[in-house]
Symmetry: D2
Subunit: 161 residues, 4 copies
């Protein structure tokens, strides 16, 4: 699992006083950088070197995220296919899972415009970050329960009408 710490900025919020839904895809893209580096160590963004194409992604908004506290994005590999991988991203703030989502990317040759079989070396690296959905949910439930005692008082803005 990769952890990426994000400090929200004012412009990430919207007039409803929490982080806008369109901020999450931006944070999750930032959190894919270490995954991109497994596929392309120099991160060179050219057709010759880049090798991943986003096919689909989804987002679940579970609880509001606020300005003023850091957000931890956790990134897991949930599926390693022949030519594609699926990631799970989670956004945690003040000890609570606030949002999550997944995305599927194709290992892709941008010059020839076709998909490529993921090499074993990359596959091995990815597998270090693998988790099943079931294990992840079990772990999260446990962590959320442990955190519950501490963080009741932290979401100050909820009372602000």
């Amino acid at each position: 699992m990769y952890k990426t710490i994000i400090t929200p900025r004012i412009g990430d919020t919207d007039a409803l006083r929490h982080i806008n839904n369109t901020t999450l895809p931006i944070w999750f893209e930032t959190a894919r950088n270490p995954i991109f580096r497994i596929f392309n160590p120099t991160l060179e963004l050219t057709y010759k070197k880049w090798n991943l194409e986003l096919l689909r992604c989804d987002f679940n908004y579970l609880k509001p995220i606020y300005f003023g506290y850091d957000v931890e994005i956790r990134t897991y590999v949930s599926k390693i296919g022949k030519t594609s991988i699926t990631l799970i991203h989670e956004a945690w703030q003040n000890g609570q899972l606030r949002a999550n989502g997944s995305c599927t990317m194709l290992y892709f040759d941008f010059i020839r415009q076709n998909s490529v079989v993921i090499p074993d070396e990359i596959r091995e690296n990815l597998s270090k970050h693998f988790i099943t959905k079931e294990d992840l949910e079990k772990n999260n439930k446990k962590e959320m329960n442990e955190n519950r005692k501490n963080n009741e008082a932290m979401d100050y803005i909820e009372s602000d009408i």
Copy 2:
């Protein structure tokens, strides 16, 4: 169906020379404005007046979208539940469906923090924009076939390595 015309800007592209994946959620949010107006005619973004909460959304990236041509976002209602609705958004450019996605929003009282049954008047308004997934796919296939003859030459950047 609502049509929203978007003129891409340079900053919507990324170094792979097409529109970045995080631009799509932004365009689709813009395209929800007429739906928001059905629920809240003044669009007043306060806890007293605003009444929709995004629960989830997803995005499918079918073909690259380019800078230099307008994009048409088409918005349909695909489900009207008791307290929630689901929308389908599509991004068309040069006569081709390039990306689509859906989102589910809860009809919500931000002061009392609970969901509310969608009133009949709103329900009627929404139903004018309703389509089934099957009808939409059939219509799109037909339209894409008709457009195919005209737009082969339009995507100039694909040859730019």
Copy 3:
């Protein structure tokens, strides 16, 4: 003068319930599209074809801009130098000038990495959109005075604490 109509989206606002400062550069970039087209009619964003480099820009935030009303971006040419041009952008909403700014771009060869003298044909096209700062300020003052009677009641959110 070029007019570009922008429909604000929720994510353009921030928790202070007006448009966030970082939205303005995005809108002004969108509004430069017709200027870009004078320099590069196909808008092809490659090193071979693109020919403008942004050197500097500034922004003045005069009054809050709100979600719920369209914004008109007006773009003028305020200086045509030997190898560079300066633009003025204005954001009008409900008949009031809410923000403005300027930017200077270099006519640039991205392959050779040097500036180029702006050709006469482009210069002529640009000059159709030229205005002096003094004329612009005079025109705006007059227009704002005429609009004043009509738009007192329009900014509903200012009373929303």
Copy 4:
């Protein structure tokens, strides 16, 4: 001086393969968080508690910034007025100053809608981050010279046509 480390994401680039100009205002806003905290320790973004209004800002694009390397944003206080302050932001990448800019913010009562004299305690805190433009330029020139030997080879993308 405050240092804020930013990891660029793909969507921060544009089709010219460097960071888009509209990304800089976003990074600089993120870098103002510690300054905001001096004025408002809880960072509560409500009309009752927030107390800064952005009046103007400007940006100078000195050299391209690339994806793949962290960016260091340095934030200084360059002027402490009676009711307003001016900041200088700089973006450094691979030992080089790539962009800078300044912004002026008003100390502001959002309920009464008027400016307020900055209290002495805040003034003292701000003064710890004060620098004159002259000193800053001198320091930067020195640092850039020292760095020059090391970073010739680092900007790999410049040769990518």
